[in-house]
Symmetry: C2
DNA sequence: TTGTAGGCGTTATCAC
DNA sequence: GTGATAACGCCTACAA
């Protein structure tokens, strides 16, 4: 038995498909009684209303915006930053009846060429029925961004770009790094460690990164800012992807390798919270023995009394949401304010 | 200038559209060198690859599953239960390159007929390009569920249903209510209050619900279970939608109206946490003065040492995910195990 | 107020 | 290995 479409319904009623369509989309284009009759018969013969796929193709709009969160979709839900961002984003788009499409970045088959890896990475984005795309915690030149541009869909990134044709909502990451760096420098810290996120699983053994590897990091600008402001050694360490566990692992690595600095900076609050946890486990006192700083000021940072750089995360999501659904869609750039929030985890360097 | 499609590219190359399509979807159907040439030219003239809308229409698949979370999309992100559920769901679906579509339930225009309200409520679901749908914290007979069925898409609900043709992953909510009720009864509680979620904003003034209003609640079965097991008064109170704030407001209402029972049961852990907070604010001791119980055992419940009924939330998401993407798609029912977790917030009733 | 017709971009079928 | 063709289901000029 064939599927029930607008045609089936039209035939059953002896009217044209156009009229049926109008009954759903333009009530003013036909008499109320006819419309009533159409809707009633639809119910009767089981026509579920206009099909989304046909509608999307014909109208060129999907009524949905896409969000590419991080490498792993499931990680995002344990990242307070992502959650807060999504809250702001959804507040805006749901007012307009727009849906949010969360897409995974599939890792390319191992051993494939770079071009093919790129290709397979964005499969989900390619197949997604969306009108606009935003990417979070991913480089602005991610293959998915390139694809979105090629498709001609609105693209809003969350990092600063020099291209005046691009839209973004971001903070000054370099400036944020400088803020933290100056704060620590003024407290006499000359030897700091930076906890960063990498693609490895959470709580990976822990290791030190060379300068060359640094460019792959999402927040290279923050590190650069730190380096500029801190007159001393800056060691980069990772324990895996962005999670409390990774922060703890990286900190433990520092302890185990006798590399404990006077201050530890998590490139995200989550990593910094992991550091706090690991230090507490080893009976080290914060900030008496080691100072700890984070970035972003997620809700948990306040609860932990963590010194960090505040940014309006939810606002960020709202701004992105507005740009995503803006029909005018001319490129716009939004630079959000940041501020250092000095709390209880930083103090003068021990000597 | 017209959009670049498979046709444009085919014309530019002097091959047929079918071959171009094959170059993308069936590499084995054409010679490697031709494929290479096609992909190269695509890059050159800026063909972004097969369009999602056309593809979805033609193939009848969108490679995406829909999730209807609660009345307000943005609330869901502050609900630990929803987050945990989504984590499990995404773990499963992202392995298959499937996207997740989060849809809002738009409230119908005020003053419209019930049928039209239903209609406008499900607009987002109607327009969503999805292959399957699940609904969380919403009655299984929600208009969106009806629509999904009519569309012939896979539907997985999260509450028990008697229809053998339906798929669901759920717990025994009545049994969970009985568990809590018996626990409290055995401690001598004969006068309890139940904090429930309603559609009002969080932290609404607070009020008592009549039995008649109860049937509208998501978790009526839990209340029924409580009622069965507790030999005494069971008062139903609400302070708005599911949030800590609402739980606190409802509890404050109890205090203000001199209705303080010997035990307060939050129909979700979040509401129970709100109760704990409000009691602490009023210098009442838990459990010495008042016992408190929750449901679901979210991570924060453990941290707060809250007595609650454990259910495997993440497993639930994973199960739902598997059913959503199961191509066989025959109806399946999964009843997940629950258990009472007795922690520090319950004690014998004060006399 | 209602009907006709064309096409949105793709892919499966079936020839060649 | 490659090409022509016909849908998929819908909406919107435009014509009646």
């Amino acid at each position: 038995m064939a599927r029930i479409t607008v045609k089936t319904l039209a035939a059953a009623l002896g009217v044209s498909p156009a009229t049926v369509s109008n009954a759903y989309n333009r009530p003013d284009q036909l008499s109320p009684q006819l419309r009533e009759r159409i809707l009633a018969t639809a119910e009767e013969i089981g026509y579920p209303g206009p099909d989304a796929a046909g509608r999307t193709l014909r109208m060129g709009r999907a009524e949905a915006v896409g969000v590419l969160l991080t490498e792993r979709l499931s990680y995002a839900f344990s990242d307070p930053f992502a959650i807060e961002f999504l809250t702001g984003l959804s507040e805006v788009v749901e007012e307009h009846g727009i849906s949010i499409v969360l897409m995974p970045v599939s890792r390319g088959a191992p051993g494939s060429s770079p071009a093919e890896a790129d290709e397979s990475q964005v499969t989900a984005v390619r197949n997604a029925n969306i009108d606009a795309l935003t990417i979070l915690s991913l480089p602005a030149d991610h293959p998915a961004a390139t694809l979105a541009r090629a498709r001609g869909m609105r693209l809003v990134t969350t990092s600063v770009s020099n291209d005046p044709e691009s839209s973004w909502v971001a903070i000054d990451d370099f400036g944020a790094g400088v803020m933290v760096g100056e704060h620590l420098a003024s407290l006499g810290h000359r030897d700091i460690a930076v906890l960063v996120e990498t693609n490895q699983p959470a709580g990976s053994p822990g290791w030190r990164l060379d300068a060359a590897e640094l460019s792959f990091l999402d927040y290279a600008a923050r590190v650069a800012g730190l380096r500029k402001a801190v007159p001393g050694q800056v060691l980069i360490v990772s324990g895996g992807h962005n999670s409390i566990e990774s922060g703890a692992t990286a900190t433990t690595w520092l302890l185990d390798h006798d590399q404990l600095p006077t201050a530890i900076v998590g490139l995200s609050d989550v990593l910094a919270l992991g550091a706090l946890q690991a230090l507490a486990n080893c009976r080290l006192r914060t900030p008496a023995n080691v100072s700890v700083c984070g970035f972003d000021d997620i809700p948990a940072a306040k609860a932990a009394d963590l010194t960090t750089v505040h940014q309006p995360i939810r606002d960020k999501g709202q701004h992105v949401g507005r740009l995503l659904i803006d029909p005018a869609s001319r490129p716009r750039q939004v630079l959000l304010p940041i501020s250092l929030v000095t709390r209880a985890t930083t103090a003068p360097a021990r000597r």
